[in-house]
């Protein structure tokens, strides 16, 4: 009795779903092209990547399922450990520095007149619209040992010339310094936009309470900007773990493994050595690292605010 009633209801809702689908066939047609592309070039490759990471890829035969062997190889490899370490150092130094300097720059720019605001915003955002390929090429030139700009500047201060990209102990730091000196344009623009949406009444109240400019900044501006800070920290951490272009164009991961990074290693494993299974496993590991860091950062940063 009850069962048949339920079945009837289920039948009814199926029928009404069918009717809704027919009534909205246009909606499906609108979605269809994107959905096909999405399935073919994102959904299928993602699932495939996970499957491949448990296989050994063969060109002629069917792939062999080796299960965790690839992952074992990933975690036992010196190159991967070095790449993970380098990428982590790079991220830990550059991300906080870039987010904080973006906040300071945005604060300073925000206090200026309209014309100056536009000028500085453009000056700091321009390197972001320029391809990293171009930036990396010119920094490689500026880091040049004999004729580079930087060694010349060191000479002004009577310092010894440095073989920036050619030495094991300086190459990673050269890459890090470069990233620190490229302004975080997205951050500056976002912070400025968020700042202008903070209500003036908060500042007025603080003025009445006798707060000075710095106190107001620390106690009102910074906390009110927490959502932007969370977003920007996540965004630049994710980007930072994918650092690649500078590496392949400036050092090729060398000397030795001095500047090897995760994505550059994936590129080498997959498309120089053609070890597809291993490269897939490395990229799945990269995904989990980024995923875990994002979740943790989101939780921690949001709790503070």
């Amino acid at each position: 009795m009850e069962l048949s009633g339920r079945l009837k209801n289920a039948g009814k809702s199926l029928k009404s779903t069918g009717r809704l689908m027919r009534k909205n066939y246009a909606a499906y047609l609108f979605l269809l092209p994107k959905l096909i592309l999405f399935t073919l070039f994102i959904a299928v490759p993602v699932v495939w990547a996970f499957a491949l990471s448990f296989q050994e890829y063969r060109i002629m035969d069917a792939n062999e399922w080796v299960w965790l062997d690839n992952y074992k190889q990933v975690f036992e490899s010196e190159a991967f450990k070095k790449a993970l370490l380098n990428t982590t150092i790079y991220t830990v130094v550059t991300v906080p520095f870039n987010v904080i300097t973006a906040l300071i720059a945005a604060t300073l720019i925000h206090s200026l007149g309209k014309f100056a605001q536009n000028f500085f915003r453009a000056a700091f955002y321009l390197p972001t619209v320029t391809s990293m390929v171009i930036i990396a090429m010119v920094w490689r030139w500026m880091y040049n040992y004999e004729f580079g700009l930087f060694n010349h500047v060191l000479g002004w201060f009577g310092l010894e010339q440095i073989n920036w990209l050619g030495q094991t102990n300086s190459a990673l730091w050269a890459i890090i310094i470069m990233q620190m000196l490229i302004p975080f344009g997205v951050g500056i623009i976002l912070y400025m936009a968020s700042m202008s949406s903070i209500s003036d009444s908060l500042y007025e109240a603080a003025t009445i309470d006798g707060a000075n400019a710095f106190q107001k900044w620390l106690k009102i501006t910074v906390p009110m900007l927490t959502p932007s800070t969370v977003y920007l920290t996540l965004l630049s951490t994710i980007g930072s773990f994918q650092v690649f272009t500078q590496i392949i164009l400036m050092t090729g991961g060398g000397p030795g493994y001095a500047t090897e990074t995760l994505v550059h290693l994936i590129y080498k494993t997959g498309f120089r050595d053609f070890e597809f299974g291993l490269a897939a496993a490395q990229s799945v590991v990269l995904f989990f690292i980024i995923f875990v860091i994002s979740v943790v950062q989101y939780k921690v940063l949001n709790r503070k605010g």
Binding site: L20, M21, N24, A26, F30, L31, P33, K34, L35, L37, F38, L40, F41, I42, V44, P45, V46, W48, A49, L52, L108, S111, L112, F120, A122, A123, L126, P127, V129, T130, S131, M132, V133, I134, I135, M137, V138, W139, W141, E146, F147, H152, I182, V186, I189, L190, A193, Y231, I238, Q242, I248, L249, V263, I266, Y267, G270, F276, A280, S283, F291
Partner: protein
Amino acid sequence: MKKKFTLNKLIVYVLLSVAAVISLLPLYWVFSTSLQLKSFQDEELERPTSYVNANPPKMYPMGISEYFEHWGKARDAEKAGDVEQEAYHRDLMSLIVKDTFSGFTSLFSKNQMGWWFFNSLYIGIVVTVGILLLDSMAGYVLAKKRFPGRNLIFWLIISTMMIPSQVTLVPMFIMIRDLGLMDTHWALILPDLSMVFGVFLMRQFMLSIPDELIEAAKIDGASEWRTYWSIVLPLARPGLAALGIFTFMNVWNSFLWPIIVLNSAKLYTLPVGLKTLQDANLADFKLLMSGAAIAAIPMIIVFIIFQRHFVKGLTLGGVKE
């Protein structure tokens, strides 16, 4: 009080100006090196053969000062009636001009810079137009239509935004190869068209379009396509502008995937061309910087013209939700 205020302002200006110089110096150095005199030799003055590899580095293209120096000397010789001297300096002047732009001319004559530029431009335009159409269609129905599976599709698409694109490199490579699309522009266009960020952006944007307008169009008997084309799209113009600019910029600058799938020099996009240029001319910095300058100019122009939309696009994708 008044005095302190202006002092503060001065400090702010000085700090920001120093930062702006650091920010723009690399770009300046690209252009300066690309126009630097390279193989010009003035035997009379015993100057170095190359100003590119000068130590200390020359801070601006030396052709400018050299040109004016010889121009002045040519004029003096003309006044003095020394025809031979005048011709000598005039010859040098044309040599200087030639040498200043030699990086650019050899990029187009000895390398296939023209093709790289054309490929980047047309792929950028094709992908941008395609993305605007596909993503606004998808975003529109995801925001404004109720149909079974809508939420499932939306969350499916959103959840893949979390996955770094490197994860799909290997399967995509195998797929493109098996489809026979290796070393074609389809290998770039198809994956680019499937990027999902725009769907999310357009959906968020379309949510703010009032339902009444869409209902009114329906009552007037407009078809779904007409409603979308002549009501929804015009209203979504600011969102489309932002998405278009960011799509074009991403495609124009995209690097990792193109270096994997393109092998023929004629098919390269600019970033791939620049990499191979560097691999083949590791120390010819004038040539390399000339290539970099050509690749940088279009984006700089796009940015200057559409600055407003850049700001808008960033804040659309970022702060709100």
